[in-house]
Symmetry: C2
Subunit: 352 residues, 2 copies
Amino acid sequence: MRLVLDAMGGDHAPAAAVEGGVLFAREHPEHEVVLVGDSLRVRTHLPRTGAPGNLHLHHASQVVEMDDSPSAFRRKKDSSLQVGFELVRAGEASALVSAGNSGAVMAGALLVLGRLPGVDRPAIATLFPALRGGGRCLLLDAGANVDCKPVHLAQFAVLGEAYVRARLGISRPRIAVLSNGEEPSKGTVLTREASALLRRSDLAFSGYVEGKDIFSGEVDVVVTDGFTGNIVLKASEGAAMGVAGLLRSAIEKRGGLPEKLGALLLQPTLAGLKRVVDYAEYGGAPLLGIQGVGIVAHGRSSPRAIQSALGAALQMAQAGLQTELTRCIERARAWLPARQRGKRATQGTLSD
Amino acid sequence: MRLVLDAMGGDHAPAAAVEGGVLFAREHPEHEVVLVGDSLRVRTHLPRTGAPGNLHLHHASQVVEMDDSPSAFRRKKDSSLQVGFELVRAGEASALVSAGNSGAVMAGALLVLGRLPGVDRPAIATLFPALRGGGRCLLLDAGANVDCKPVHLAQFAVLGEAYVRARLGISRPRIAVLSNGEEPSKGTVLTREASALLRRSDLAFSGYVEGKDIFSGEVDVVVTDGFTGNIVLKASEGAAMGVAGLLRSAIEKRGGLPEKLGALLLQPTLAGLKRVVDYAEYGGAPLLGIQGVGIVAHGRSSPRAIQSALGAALQMAQAGLQTELTRCIERARAWLPARQRGKRATQGTLSD
């Protein structure tokens, strides 16, 4: 398989992206990585000992910057993102990974690759770690669509269900709508109407769950609008990293010999914990509902995080997930209403 | 001062409430606690050695259960909540603390005590711990009002600012609106219109912050609607507790001698951490904007958490915070538009 890596995307680009691409290429000599970006700048970060033979360079003169608006994707015709997505569309690569401007990645996926038939709004899907009770949980939308209608949340459920089934091997994933309480009387018009749709579906729908249940292992897929999803993602990341950091600084501050020795003895445990806690960084978040495989990696991705996102892209491309997603969306037409263009029933909808 | 404690509220009521009341009464012999609830059931949980002299019992025959709808407050005329709030209204107590049904506590506060002049919607305010970068952060609304209008978020900012100034001694608290990105183009109609109002205010308004900034120490007050606020509160609680739990189980699972010794040496550090991480449980969340002092404690409150919530109630009542809140809301009329009953611009508003 050949994977495109946006060499210019991310807070530490191109250094971190290039290094991550090298790591992945060495790990998977049977696959190929195409680094897309400013070839002069990319070259300076290649290893002096020579790049792996399965790592290629494809020049693109422009960059969609982290603080550009998503519309910059249209303007910058020779950006690494544009050129990268064109390679995927032309069939010269099977997937694209970018740690760049996530709004622009979504815009590029929509404009160049397009949506799967039956999908109104592709979503960013984030897999949360099993912090309590075991089991991982997929949250979507994690930020692509601020204004959602009930039918969009129902589509997210179909996409998320198929993804979790394929990626985690769960035969019948449990689906829930994120709300401010478990009782059906809670929530907003959006959550109540989305729940009504999902109750009519053939999915294993559990109703509402609360924020803590993203980590409780009780459900496998949680759907929400991109405004709430993005805030929840970043708040829980802040809390998890905060607790881990607090532990570190408490150990350093107390700083007696017992604490130092204790920290030393627990070193492997603490290192393993860091990897789990840093869930936002590792693995990357797939765009579900587009015609192709696109992975958004965290802006601050380290080389290892980039390597891990490329691994997720490879897995998705190999699994032929697109065919499965298309099949599921097609089947959902039995209970999913067609596109509700005229209906305005959800948060922020007036800004449409 | 005399404080009312709802003896029947909470997952572990009346045991945890009574025990917490006893702890507080012993800690503060100069103040009084009135336990309101079923006197027969309450009595069985009083210490055999005799209750402290400053702990009183006030009978109420009914209970608003945790899974009752908030409207149960109206129906149950002799509930511990109703009787407790009546004591505060009659001036026989200065504050009420309850770990019971938070919707019913809010309903009771509104119906019995009423709102401060100029406040349309009282909010539940939750003080988050300093997990990163130092400094604590007040989030409101944490769940009282699912459907908010821009003017409500602006009122939350005024209330939160005055509370943080009084409680944390910060002379000029920094205020922000919670959003899915820092750029002014992000957010929903609700967040954009609330920001426009706050930019016209005399508060130290910082614009948008993301979910992680609740823990970053960059701002002191974060306002949001009660739907988002409740989800964020519970998700970050789940993440923080999850990380702490993961650490525990990692130590137990590896279970070698080095890990056991390490854990033993770090015991005091880990215990201190637990107290901070358990932020949702400790301290209680004040209802800001009501005519009196009302504190919502976490449903699963332990006796120590109840004691801590009574401490917060005492501090609020002593600080004469109501006068300060009234003054601030009055002053804000210079830039705050009057009640926007007719305007429907926010999430979930169609359910009004």
